[in-house]
C-alpha cells in the first residue's frame, strides 16, 4: 500500500506543482482522452452485448471507486458496501415511484441519502479501527439487509420496480442510450476522486491511513475524516446502486448479499488499492471473469477429454472457485493490483535499457 521502495527510479519531477497534475504524464493524458472517445463511440461501434457488459462494468466501477476511497485511501475496511449499494438502489426507486422525482435527479439524491446512512453506520469508526471496524461493517451489512426485508413501505419486503429515466422528454430506454448516463457518472466520479486525491481533504485521508497519530498531531480531525470517508464512499455506492436499479428495472432484496460486498472488495484489490483507474480495471476484471470462465470451460468440454464433463453440471461453482483463486493469487503475487503492475511496465519501458 503506497510503498515507495518497490518503485523503479523515474520520478523526474522538479517542482511541487508538477506533483499536483491530474495527468502525471502526457501519455496518461492521451490514454485517458482516447479511452473517453472510444467509450463515447462504443454504442455505435460495438454490439449490444458488449454495451451491456460495459454498463455493468461502469456501475460496479463507480461503486468500487467509492469503496476505494474508504479502503484504499483511508485504510478502513468495509464488508458492508453492498448494503449501501442496495440502499441507494431502493431509495432512488422509492423517490421516483412515490414522489415522482425525475430519475436523473433521483440518482444523485439517492447518493446523498446513502451518504447519510453510511455516515451513521460509520460512527463506530470514531472509536475503533482496523479489524474491529471490519467486523462492525459486517454487522451493518446484516442489519441493513434485514431492514430491506422488513421495511415493506420501502422495499415491498422483496423488491420494487424501477423505471428507466428520460432526458428532457427523450426516453433513455435502450442500453445504448442508458450507457451515456452511466458513462457520465463514471467520468464525474473518476474526476471527483482524482481531484479529491490532490486536495487537502484527500491528503488528510491518506495521512489517516498511513499514520493516524502523526496525522492527528498535524491537526487532522481523525473522527471527522474517518466518518467523511464513509460518507464519500457511500455516496458513490448509492449512485451506483441507483444506476443499477434503473438499468435492471427491478430491485430485489436478495441482490445485496455479503457476496456482493466481497465482490466489490475483490475489485479494488485486483485493480489496485487507492487507484482511480484501478477501481474500474478491477470491476472489468471481476465482471468479465465469469464470461471468460464460461468460454474456457465450454472449450474444455467440447474439445478436451470426457473428464471435463463434470464441469458441465457445476459451472457456477467453477466460477466461484476461479474468483476465489484469483483473489488469493493476486494477494500473494501482486498485492498492489493491476494498476500498479501497469505502472511498473510503463516505467520499465520508459527507462529501457537502464532500469536502475
Amino acid at each position: 500500500m503506497g510503498s515507495t521502495a518497490l518503485r523503479p527510479c523515474g520520478d523526474f519531477r522538479t517542482t511541487y506543482k508538477t506533483d499536483q497534475y491530474l495527468f502525471q504524464t502526457k501519455v496518461i493524458g492521451w490514454t485517458a482522452a482516447v479511452a473517453l472517445v472510444v467509450m463515447i463511440l462504443a454504442p455505435v461501434l460495438m454490439s449490444s452485448y458488449v454495451v451491456n457488459l460495459l454498463i455493468l462494468v461502469g456501475i460496479s466501477g463507480i461503486s468500487a471507486l467509492g469503496l476505494n476511497v474508504l479502503v484504499g485511501m483511508t485504510g478502513q475496511i468495509s464488508l458492508g458496501h453492498a448494503a449501501f449499494y442496495g440502499f441507494g438502489a431502493f431509495s432512488s426507486a422509492y423517490l421516483a415511484n412515490n414522489y415522482g422525482v425525475p430519475v436523473l435527479i433521483a440518482i444523485p439524491l439517492a447518493g446523498v441519502m446513502t451518504a447519510i446512512v453510511g455516515m451513521v453506520f460509520g460512527l463506530p469508526a470514531a472509536r475503533i479501527k482496523g479489524l474491529y471496524l471490519a467486523i462492525a461493517t459486517l454487522a451493518s451489512q446484516f442489519i441493513l439487509v434485514d431492514f430491506f426485508s422488513r421495511a415493506t413501505w420501502f422495499t415491498n419486503g422483496y423488491g420494487v420496480d424501477a423505471s428507466k429515466p428520460d432526458f428532457f422528454g427523450i426516453p433513455l430506454d435502450t442500453d445504448e442510450k442508458y450507457f451515456y448516463v452511466v458513462l457520465a457518472w463514471a467520468v464525474i466520479s473518476m474526476i471527483t476522486v482524482a481531484n479529491l486525491k490532490r486536495s487537502r481533504d484527500g491528503r488528510a485521508l491518506v495521512a489517516v491511513r498511513d499514520h493516524y497519530l502523526s496525522a492527528e498531531i498535524m491537526g487532522i480531525n481523525l473522527t471527522k475524516y474517518r466518518i467523511l470517508a464513509f460518507g464519500i464512499s457511500s455516496f458513490f455506492a448509492g449512485v451506483a446502486g441507483a444506476l443499477y436499479a434503473h438499468y435492471i428495472e427491478f430491485v430485489s432484496v436478495e441482490t445485496f448479499s455479503i457476496a456482493l460486498s466481497i465482490n466489490f472488495l475483490a475489485m479494488i484489490i485486483i485493480g489496485g488499492l487507492g487507484s482511480v483507474p484501478g477501481a474500474f480495471l478491477g470491476a472489468m476484471f471481476i465482471e468479465l471473469l465469469p464470461q471468460l470462465v464460461q468460454i474456457i470451460s465450454g472449450f474444455l468440454i467440447s474439445v478436451g477429454p470426457s473428464v471435463f464433463g463434470i464441469i458441465e453440471n457445476g459451472k457456477s461453482y467453477v466460477e466461484q472457485i476461479t474468483v476465489g483463486t484469483v483473489i488469493i493469487l493476486f494477494l500473494i503475487f501482486e498485492p498492489e493490483g493491476i494498476a500498479h503492475r501497469i505502472g511498473q511496465i510503463r516505467k520499465s519501458i520508459k527507462l529501457y535499457p537502464f532500469s536502475y
Binding site: 472509536r127 467486523i135 472488495l265 466461484q320 483473489i327 488469493i328 494477494l331
Partner: protein, 297 residues
C-alpha cells in the same frame, strides 16, 4: 409469560451457546497466535461434518472409526492451508489477510457444495436413546453429548495451554513473537499447529452440530455467528470466547422468545446478535476480557 417455553429456549441457548463458544475459541486461537482473522471458520465446520458423514455413509465405516479419521484429515488440512496460503502473507496489511480468508471460504464453499450437493443429510442413529428427561425438560441425547463434548474440549484446551510444552510455546508466541523465536520456539511450527488445532476442533463442532441438526452448507452460518461472540468476549481472550459464545446463544434464544411471544417481527433471532455487536463495539470496543490496546507515541 410462558415460563416453560422460556426455560426450554434458554436451555437450548446454553447448549448452542457452548458450541458457539467452542467455535469462537478456535477463531480466537488462530487470531491470537497468528494475527489472522479466519472468515472460513464456518466452512471448516462444514468440511469436518461432510467428511465424517461421507466416511460413515459412503464408505460404511462405523462412527467411532470415522471420527478419528476425520480429525486426522482436519489436522492435515489445517497445516496445509497455513503453509500454502497464509505463510506467504505474513506481515501483509490486514485487508490482505481478511480477503485471503474470505477467498478461502468462497473456494471451500463451492468445492463442498459441488462435491456433496446442496441438500441436507443426516447421520444415521448413533445413540440408542433419542430423548432424556432432565429436571422435567425433554432434552435430546445428542444435546447432552454436545454439552459434555464442549466441556471436554474446553478442559483439553486448558490443560494443553497450561501444562504442555507446545501449549506454552504457543502462548509465548502469542505474547511476543520475537522473544519466543529467540528462545528457540519455532514460530512457523506454532502457526501451523494453531491452524491444525483450530481445524480439528471446528471439525468436532461441525460433527456434533451435524448429528444434532443434519449436515448441510448452512452450518457455515456459525462462522458468522462467531463474530458477535468474539467481540462480546474480547477478540484475543479464549475465556472471553466461551463466555461470549454462551451469551450470544442465550441472547438468540431470548430474542426468539420475545419475538414469538410479544413482538411478532419474525427473524429477530438472526439479527439480534449483530445489534449487540454494534452496541458493544461502540461502548466497550475490547469486549469483556480483551486486552486494551495502549498506544504510545
Amino acid at each position: 409469560m410462558n415460563w416453560f417455553l422460556l426455560t426450554q429456549l434458554l436451555a437450548n441457548g446454553l447448549i448452542v451457546g457452548m458450541l458457539y463458544g467452542v467455535v469462537a475459541m478456535c477463531f480466537v486461537l488462530i487470531y491470537k497466535s497468528t494475527q489472522v482473522v479466519n472468515f472460513a471458520q464456518g466452512e471448516f465446520l462444514v468440511l469436518g461434518a461432510w467428511v465424517c458423514l461421507a466416511m460413515v455413509v459412503k464408505a460404511g465405516l462405523p462412527f467411532y472409526v470415522a471420527f478419528p479419521f476425520t480429525l486426522v484429515f482436519m489436522t492435515i488440512f489445517g497445516i496445509l492451508i497455513q503453509t500454502v496460503i497464509l505463510r506467504p502473507l505474513i506481515g501483509e496489511p490486514i485487508i490482505s489477510i481478511i480477503m485471503v480468508t474470505i477467498a478461502l471460504s468462497i473456494i471451500m464453499q463451492s468445492v463442498l457444495n459441488w462435491t456433496f450437493g446442496n441438500s441436507s443429510a443426516s447421520f444415521p442413529q448413533i445413540f440408542p436413546v433419542e430423548n432424556v428427561s432432565l429436571f422435567g425438560l425433554q432434552v435430546e441425547t445428542a444435546y447432552i453429548m454436545s454439552l459434555v463434548l464442549s466441556f471436554f474440549v474446553m478442559a483439553l484446551f486448558y490443560a494443553f495451554f497450561q501444562y504442555s510444552k507446545y501449549g506454552l510455546a504457543m502462548r509465548a508466541t502469542a505474547y511476543d513473537q520475537q522473544a519466543a523465536q529467540s528462545l528457540g520456539v519455532s514460530v512457523g511450527q506454532v502457526f501451523a499447529m494453531s491452524w491444525a488445532i483450530s481445524a480439528v476442533v471446528s471439525g468436532i463442532a461441525g460433527i456434533i452440530i451435524g448429528i444434532v441438526s443434519g449436515v448441510s452448507s448452512s452450518l457455515a452460518v456459525i462462522g458468522i455467528k462467531v463474530f458477535p461472540a468474539v467481540i462480546v468476549g474480547g477478540l484475543d481472550s479464549i475465556v472471553g470466547a466461551i463466555v461470549g459464545g454462551v451469551i450470544i446463544g442465550l441472547l438468540e434464544n431470548f430474542a426468539e422468545f420475545v419475538d414469538g411471544q410479544y413482538l411478532q417481527w419474525g427473524n429477530l433471532y438472526t439479527i439480534a446478535p449483530f445489534y449487540v455487536l454494534i452496541i458493544i463495539l461502540v461502548i466497550k470496543p475490547y469486549g469483556l476480557f480483551g486486552t486494551r490496546d495502549i498506544e504510545r507515541i
